[in-house]
């Protein structure tokens, strides 16, 4: 399941719901991305999505992850709008029979979400606001999966 929300959310509560009743799962990996204050250099982050288009792109990618890593299930929550330091930006959880698949799928989803998902990101800092492009490291991380 995929949720885009403009309200703060609690990753632990999402994990609790995701783990409930999983008598045959074995492994749940998760990742929580938190907005960094950068010692006051980043007062807030603003994320824009294209409703419908962004959800559909995430869903399509998550389904390739499900097939590739034989996931039993996944859960993605992504904040949009203005996000303060320390707040959760993204939460991804993956459920599989064994931990290798759960970890790799979570890592794979995050690399894509951070570098290629259809979001536009603006950082508000003391010197004003600027739009952010993916970093070289994001591109490198995401391209690890292309070579296989």
């Amino acid at each position: 399941m995929i949720t885009l929300t403009d309200q703060p959310f609690e990753p632990g509560a999402v994990l609790t719901a995701f783990c409930a009743g999983r008598a045959e799962t074995g492994a749940v990996a998760s990742f929580t991305g938190l907005a960094r204050a950068e010692q006051g250099q980043a007062a807030a982050l603003e994320l824009e999505a294209y409703p419908g288009f962004t959800d559909a792109a995430i869903q399509a990618f998550a389904e390739t992850a499900r097939a590739r890593f034989r996931l039993q299930d996944y859960r993605i929550v992504h904040r949009i709008g203005r996000i303060g330091p320390g707040e959760a930006i993204v939460f991804v959880a993956t459920a599989a029979g064994h931990r290798r698949e759960a970890f790799e799928a979570c890592d794979f989803l995050m690399d894509w979400l951070k570098s290629r998902a259809p979001f536009w990101k603006k950082e508000h800092g003391p010197g004003g606001a600027r739009w952010i492009e993916p970093t070289d490291r994001d591109r490198t991380d995401a391209s690890r999966w292309d070579q296989e």
Binding site: L47, E48, Y50, G52, V90, S115, R116, F119, W120, W131
Partner: protein, 79 residues
Amino acid sequence: MVRVLLFGRLADQAGWRERRLEAVSLGQLRALLADEDPDLAEALAGPGVQVAVDQAIVRGDPALTGPCEVAFLPPMSGG
């Protein structure tokens, strides 16, 4: 009637995020926007800017038949 959507820095530059215009092709839509705001039209044609018609990425100069949604998408930053 075409619903035109701008995202990210394109919306900041234009000063609007959404408007409605009449156009029968993407090329005609670009020309209408250029009449009003040549700098914006140039940015919309800039490197890395993708166009989606009814939420599907298109290339070239497709016809716009009936009510539709045209979105200009600057390079995506990821989440």
